[in-house]
């Protein structure tokens, strides 16, 4: 392991890769800060650029963007009470009241230190857990992988889109359908191409990500008439107050960080759970841990109330890399985007990545840590300047997002058809978003589609067409039972729920 860490450090600390981490963190912070645009959009916009680099550098850039976007999301939560990402909603509960009390700088510093500490602790967990799990997962067979992929999709549908299980499952199927377009990998038989040569290679992953995230998010902002810069105009973005944290506050954070890190990491490893659930659970857990007088401060600017979700969401981000790097199965939409990018580089993540491409495996882990350091020493002092991006009017912001999306696809294929296809998918995705159809399950399914089919093919061929492979091995049986449990729980929940009419006017 020490050797691996040294390889990773050597790769991650090269001048080019250090620059990539810095650029990634910086760009991620800016994009993540804009309400409505999260890490997935940030990574999606970066993918075409990463294809110009070697895989390790490309992944390091994306890891930097990921952490930067999460940090940027916290910034907009604290400053304007408009979380850039769902994972930072809990941050706004105490961060925004602190900002209203004139302690915006302090709130940002607490968020940054907590993120750093949470990220550090979880990076250590990742260092220990990833290689061990890689070794265990070498014993996994095709039926287990097939089961794990269904588990991942079901869990994401169940947990990432609260109350929309059926909608999320429909999006999963849509993602798998889109993935099935093009030539069959084994027989080269064209499927769903309708004699169109442009579709024979299938639909590009970058195209789907750009269309369903960057472009459709931009169109959603327009159609809903939202203006992210409006809230920013109500506060001073230049005078955020001191970023110094006193002894008493440090003491309070010291108690919160370890427990929130452990909770965040464990939740992050679980498929589908991710940063949002981790941050809410950590907030709730912290509220139960503190003394009654401190409990009263929750929601009014509590240090622990801010530190807990921030620690947990960063720990969950590191945790979500465990299934991606060790099993090759992403547990969240963001890691699904990263898997798609990895596959684009011709790298298949999974237990063998640890052995075949140790430089990539370890450099990504090490660069995550370097990313945290960059965020702390570079982004935190620059926040008063970076925060001004919140004041950029949508009249300039939206065309820029659309421009980068279209250009990204154009540079990859030099083909009008791909641009038109992207616009078509983006328009459909925008309509679906208006009615709360979640997009992360679609992306996860699109990325996993090919792998799922491959593993189902192998399983069915080995078992001579019998579906008994789903319960023949104890491990597969456990996975299948977990899936059934999740589905039953979701069905029970939807029947139990009392009707609650939610009207969205805007």
């Amino acid at each position: 392991m020490i050797e691996g860490i040294l390889i990773g450090l050597k790769t991650a600390l090269s001048f080019q890769n250090l620059m990539m981490v810095m650029i990634g963190c910086f760009a991620g912070t800016i994009i993540g800060m804009l309400p409505g645009l999260g890490p997935m959009t940030a990574i999606a916009l970066m993918i075409p650029i990463t294809y110009g680099f070697d895989p390790a550098t490309g992944l390091i850039l994306m890891a930097g963007v990921y952490y930067g976007a999460v940090f940027g999301g916290s910034t907009s939560s604290i400053l304007i009470n408009a979380p850039g990402v769902p994972g930072t909603v809990a941050t706004s509960f105490d961060g925004y009241p602190m900002a209203q009390q004139g302690k915006a700088g302090k709130a940002l510093a607490i968020a940054a230190y907590s993120s750093f500490a949470g990220g550090t602790i979880s990076a250590i967990f990742l260092l220990i857990a990833a290689p061990s799990l890689s070794k265990i997962s070498l014993s996994f067979r095709s039926p287990d992988y097939f089961g794990l992929m269904i588990l991942g999709l079901t869990a994401v549908a169940a947990f990432s889109s609260k109350g929309n299980f059926l909608k999320a499952m429909m999006m999963c199927v849509l993602g798998l359908m889109l993935a099935s377009v093009g030539q069959d990998t084994l027989s080269d038989i064209p499927r769903f191409t309708f004699n169109n040569m442009n579709l024979s290679d299938g639909i590009s992953f970058v195209l789907v990500v750009m269309a369903t995230f960057a472009m459709s998010e931009a169109l959603t902002i327009i159609i809903k008439g939202n203006d992210p810069s409006k809230a920013a105009k109500q506060i001073s973005l230049t005078d955020l107050g001191s970023i110094k944290v006193n002894k008493e506050e440090t003491k309070q954070m010291a108690a919160t960080i370890p427990r929130s890190s452990i909770l965040g990491f464990i939740i992050g490893v679980l498929p589908g759970a991710g940063a949002t659930i981790a941050s809410f659970l950590a907030y709730g857990m912290e509220r139960n841990f503190v003394k009654s007088e401190e409990k009263e401060k929750f929601g009014k600017g509590s240090v622990q109330g801010l530190s807990a979700p921030e620690t947990a969401n960063n720990a969950a981000c590191s945790g979500s890399f465990v299934p991606l790097l060790t099993l090759g199965i992403p547990g969240s939409g963001t890691t699904a985007v990263m898997l798609g990018a990895l596959l684009g580089f011709g790298i298949q993540p999974g237990p063998r990545l640890y052995q075949t491409n140790p430089d990539i495996f370890w450099s990504v882990i090490m660069s995550m840590y370097i990313g945290m350091v960059v965020l702390l020493i570079l982004n935190l002092p620059l926040i008063p300047y970076i925060a001004r991006i919140l004041a950029v009017p949508r009249t300039f912001l939206i065309p820029m997002i659309l421009f980068f999306s279209v250009t990204g696809i154009y540079l990859m294929s030099f083909n009008n058809f791909d641009i038109f296809l992207m616009i078509g998918i983006a328009v459909i995705a925008t309509a679906l978003r208006l009615y709360d159809f979640p997009m992360p399950p679609l992306i996860l399914a699109f990325v996993l589609g090919g792998l799922m089919e491959e593993n189902l093919r192998r399983s069915l061929l080995i078992s001579d067409g019998s579906w008994s492979f789903l319960w023949d091995r104890p491990l597969t049986l456990i996975i299948m039972l977990t899936i059934i449990l999740i589905v039953c729980l979701q069905c029970y929940k939807s029947f139990k729920k009392t009707p609650n009419v939610a009207k969205t006017s805007q």
């Binding site: 110009g52 929309n164 059926l166 909608k167 499952m169 429909m170 199927v173 849509l174 798998l176 359908m177 099935s180 027989s187 038989i189 499927r191 769903f192 169109l219 327009i222 159609i223 809903k224 008439g225 009017p393 009249t395 300039f396 939206i398 065309p399 659309l402 421009f403 279209v406 154009y410 540079l411 030099f414 009008n416 641009i419 038109f420 616009i423 925008t430 309509a431 679906l432 208006l434 009615y435 709360d436 159809f437 799922m452 089919e453 189902l456 093919r457 069915l460 061929l461 078992s463 001579d464 067409g465 939807s494 729920k497 009707p499 609650n500 009419v501 939610a502 009207k503 969205t504 805007q506």
Partner: protein
């Protein structure tokens, strides 16, 4: 059973899944693969059924959290104009070239979204695209097709 927009979308998805299933059955597989446990149409067939199953459930089951979007609050005009601009941009980017089509796309997009400060519109279109092109083409050596600039003699 009340038909709301979500149920209508689910119905459309049901029809799409049925069409997908029909098309999956039409996939021509090799003769020796016809009775194999798994061939090119096996997975799509299961997907078609899965799509019909989930959308069918969504249509049949009562909606616990109905979402109604009031169309009067939606900015259709701006969105349609923007989508139309993107389509024109996509159609002209190869023929007219990257520089002019991108710059004009940005100018029209800013304008359609309500921007009237021409100084900023110009700065963030033509010079911005020129710098972007220089970075891509000149620094990163990413090929950018531009017949217009080639004709003028600016690009090789």
């Amino acid at each position: 059973m009340k038909i709301n927009s979500v149920k209508l979308i689910s119905l459309l998805f049901f029809i799409l899944s049925a069409f997908y299933l029909y098309t999956a059955h039409q996939i021509q597989v090799f003769a020796f693969d016809e009775n194999a446990p798994f061939n090119a149409k096996t997975f799509p067939i299961y997907l078609g059924y899965a799509g019909m199953f989930f959308s069918g459930l969504k249509i049949a089951l009562p909606d616990q959290n109905p979402i109604e979007v009031d169309p009067t609050y939606l900015e259709f005009k701006k969105t349609i104009l923007l989508v139309f601009t993107m389509i024109v941009y996509g159609a002209t980017i190869l023929k007219v070239g990257f520089f002019l089509s991108t710059s004009l796309f940005l100018v029209f997009s800013y304008y359609f979204l309500g921007e009237r400060r021409w100084k900023y519109i110009i700065i963030f279109s033509f010079p911005f695209v020129a710098i972007f092109m220089y970075l891509l083409h000149g620094v990163l050596a990413v090929y950018l097709r531009d017949p217009l600039l080639k004709y003028i003699g600016i690009m090789g």
